[in-house]
């Protein structure tokens, strides 16, 4: 199933713990995290799993904040960012999307493909390597974010690029966390 179809499926059929569409900045992150924590806390679920979901959410939406801090697109594109946290029968899913410049697509795809090819042991090793020798700007995530999310999901990062025009591509990314306890789907 394409990630676009997944979006429609989640909205229609699953227990949505958080759904937001609009500009995501530092303030929005505060509110979204607060709301997600409140809703995630209401689930009968192991604390570690709930924290995993929140950690992935924080990393994913701060990626968006950082992206727009570095590269400004027309405000109308920035306002199309979105995030969904949903509970399903066997797992939780964090799905995020934002427009990026078309020329960024290739490099981003390569980075995610690289991360997806790594075993849990590789991810752990690379995580520690980068943590010790951050190559990139110290104020930002130093590329550690993707690796950290991949470590926490223990599954592959699902992603999709939807080309809007020559210069703008909608980038969508989805990560899951296996559930431990039963979730009551309303």
């Amino acid at each position: 199933m394409s990630i676009v179809d997944r979006y429609h499926q989640i909205i229609q059929k699953e227990k949505v713990l958080l759904a937001y569409k609009g500009c995501i900045d530092g303030d929005t992150v505060t509110y979204l995290v607060k709301l997600a924590e409140k809703n995630v806390a209401s689930i009968n679920e192991k604390l570690a799993i709930r924290k995993k979901v929140i950690s992935i959410l924080v990393e994913a939406i701060q990626n968006i904040v950082n992206y727009f801090a570095e590269e400004s697109l027309d405000k109308s594109f920035e306002n199309e960012s979105f995030v969904i946290v949903a509970a399903q029968q066997n797992q939780y899913e964090v799905l995020v999307g934002n427009y990026i410049s078309g020329h960024r697509m290739r490099a981003l795809k390569k980075r995610i493909d690289n991360v997806n090819m790594m075993s849990a042991e590789d991810l752990q090793k690379v995580y520690l390597d980068i943590l010790e020798n951050p190559k990139v700007s110290i104020t930002r995530g130093a590329g550690l974010g993707l690796i950290d999310m991949a470590r926490r999901t223990q599954s592959k990062i699902n992603y999709s690029f939807v080309e809007y025009d020559q210069d703008h591509v909608l980038f969508m990314m989805s990560m899951t966390v296996a559930r431990v306890k039963d979730v009551v789907l309303s």
Partner: protein
């Protein structure tokens, strides 16, 4: 030397660095967008403290969760403590984790692999 006390916010942990007792604590969540802005003054304070530290420096981490950019600064703090330790100062580090939170335990163990100072893992009952 003045102690450094900063109340927690939605995105930053409570900072309680006591220069007189040598007890320091970082507690809560750490998810600032700009980790540099938050952590740089802490690192500078530690540099100043390291010039004339107490007999025993006890650093406690009681973190709920933190983002990856914070994790680099948490390592930065541990590196400063490691340096003091290498200079012959007595350092104790306590890493608290919730009994159900194996990710936080794992992070503590990861950091323990990187820095050459004893880090005690302490379980909090959830």
């Amino acid at each position: 030397m003045e102690s450094l006390i900063i109340e927690n916010t939605n995105k930053t942990p409570r900072v309680f660095f006591n220069a007189l007792s040598g007890k320091m604590e970082l507690a809560g969540r750490s998810i600032p967008e700009n980790s540099f802005q938050f952590y740089e003054p802490l690192l500078q304070w530690l540099d100043e403290y390291a010039k004339n530290p107490q007999e025993l420096t006890h650093f406690t981490f009681k973190l709920d969760y933190f983002n990856t950019s914070s994790s680099m600064y948490i390592l930065g703090i541990l590196k400063k403590l490691e340096k003091m330790h290498a200079e012959g100062k007595k350092i104790r580090v306590s890493w608290y984790y919730d009994s159900e939170d194996e990710d936080m335990l794992q992070t503590g163990e990861d950091l323990r692999q990187i820095v050459k100072i004893p880090i005690e893992m302490t379980e909090l009952e959830s």
